[in-house]
Amino acid sequence: MNDDAKSKREESKSGEQSSAGPSSLIDRLKEALNPFIAKGMQDLKAAKDYKRTQLWKSIFRHKLDETPRSRALAVLTNVFLHVQPAKVNRDAIRFGFTWGMGGITLYLFIVLTITGVFLMFYYHPTKGQAYQDIMYLHNDVPFGGLLRNMHRWGAHLMIITVWLHMFRVFLTGSYKTPREFNWTVGVICLVLTLLLSFTGYLLPDDQLGFWAVTVGTNMARATPLLGHEGPFGAQLGMTAFNDVRFALLGGSIVDANALLRAYIWHCIAIPLILTIFLTVHFWRVRKDGSISGPAPVMLESEMKFPRK
């Protein structure tokens, strides 16, 4: 507080003593407020040093400076980042080793979940209405077309990156001991990714999706033992109305029930299952000793065979 203000207040104090009136009321109010103002000024001062406030400290548990300790804590104390270790193999950061495909796949899965949720606001999984909803999305909903396009192309891109991820893991021999099981989990994630895309194909309820799903599910007729056109299916009493294809479609043709089932699988069941397997996949990456390489090359003369 500067001297000018102080002197002003002293003046007003002396005025109060000499005469009573409306002005003295204001002065008394001012006096009553003074302690609050002082407290406010204190708060402002503290806010300048915001990193020591209770609020800040409760959210960020450590300093964000460039010390090794803080850098490690930045990852370890963050729920989203702690799936990663505090430190990684310096060569693994280079694009050349991993091609970033696993990470891109996860990122696309997140993008697809978000765009998918938005799409669900506009979509009814019922015959007739479904196609109308897609038209509505494309022509009337603000950014609706962009939303659907991102969902569609993101899904295609995800399949490509999953394949490339698998290709890279194979080429670097990253499935070898101790990561055998995680490769198996990864294959399951690959299947679920393909199934996610496939179930989504039917949802616009257009000719493209309808016939693609018809072709795809017709193969289920021929399932050995469980399909009515498959080997030994007829002998086991399979008909078009009780076989595995019927279970998939909820009927003997691709119709309203199939649309609903595809919707439930696509929006709820498979994403949940995939999330579980992804969790295991990431957990195992860490537990199996983090990323596999680039490891120092081994020579044939140093070859050791593990015990069986």
Partner: protein, 311 residues
């Protein structure tokens, strides 16, 4: 040359990913193999010079004495991840703004699409339908492909090449995988996308899709070649042909597997269960090109015919 037809196929929105794959797969194959060959040269050098092998850091990545082996994830890895996320978002946005997702007319069960194609990633299976009955192409083969992928770590007994690119140390594994992934899976996807037209007939790129084309080809079953037409003899002919395939190709695969000294050393380490599992899956994989060959050259529809199923 019908450029319009070619453009129509290439520019179909749902075919864009496959066109992209045409570039991405060769690029990443080259990129991976380039690193594999660089490592192989290093391995070669270290094998010839055991003294160097004791002190060498054994990587081809840039290396300097005293550099930390590990870096902090924050910020060194996270900034890469963040940048990648931005770039991927950018690509996806541009792609989504410039190209609309396909939407055909409303589904109509009375109007069959011709050709009716599965989503592009399943076109390999649909293409397989040409050569096999649906129970094999649509159910057994996909299951075996997935199980086969899952068991790879458990039948690959070669401890070398764990965590680095190499070709020399894992020739058999890498060639087999590339054969399965590129020659069998991806090329079938490409054929299904770019070659197959109405009636699932073969149209070369640039050939006009003729919806009225008729193909006069008579496929026959194997036993008909021998003039045998009655069961159970025809079934027995087929069964022995299948058995013969397994014996001959099993023997050939075995010869291929123990081709060199290194492979024999690996073979010594395998248990019988591991070896037989590997053999079975390889034999089923080879069966696809063998059947394709029989169909395309000898016009053979089924090798084995029984009252319940055909192979």
């Amino acid at each position: 040359m019908d450029w319009g037809q070619l453009w129509e196929i290439i520019s179909a929105p749902d075919n864009v990913p496959i066109v992209a794959l045409l570039f991405l797969i060769p690029f990443f194959t080259w990129y991976g193999f380039r690193q594999a060959l660089a490592n192989d040269r290093l391995i070669d050098r270290l094998t010839k010079d055991p003294e160097l092998a004791k002190t060498h850091h054994r990587k081809v990545e840039p290396y300097r004495e005293g550099w930390a082996q590990k870096l902090y994830v924050w910020p060194y890895l996270l900034r890469v991840e963040f940048l990648t996320a931005i770039i991927v978002t950018g690509i996806l946005m541009v792609w989504s703004i410039t190209l609309n997702a396909p939407l055909e007319e409303p589904a109509n069960p009375n109007l069959t699409m011709n050709p009716a194609k599965a989503p592009w990633y399943f076109l390999g299976l649909q293409e397989m339908l040409v050569y096999f009955d649906p129970w094999i192409a649509g159910v057994v083969m996909p299951t075996l492909i997935l199980v086969g992928l899952m068991i790879i770590p458990y039948v690959d007994c070669n401890p070398l090449g764990n965590g680095y690119y190499t070709f020399r140390q894992r020739k058999f594994a890498i060639l087999t995988f590339c054969f399965g992934f590129m020659v069998l899976w991806l090329s079938m996807v490409f054929i299904g996308t770019f070659i197959r037209g109405p009636g699932w007939m073969w149209f070369w790129p640039g050939e006009t899709w003729d919806h009225h084309r008729l193909v006069f080809e008579t496929n026959r079953d194997l036993h008909e070649l021998f003039g045998i037409t009655t069961q159970p003899w025809s079934g027995l002919v087929g069964a022995s042909a299948v058995g013969l395939y397994f014996v001959i190709f099993g023997w050939l695969t075995h010869k291929l597997f123990v081709w060199n000294k290194f492979n024999r050393k690996i073979y010594q380490q395998m248990t019988l269960v591991q070896y037989l599992t590997l053999q079975s899956f390889l034999l089923i994989m080879w069966a696809l090109p063998v059947k394709m060959f029989l169909r395309l050259v000898f016009r053979i529809k089924n090798v084995m015919v029984t009252p319940w199923f055909n192979i």
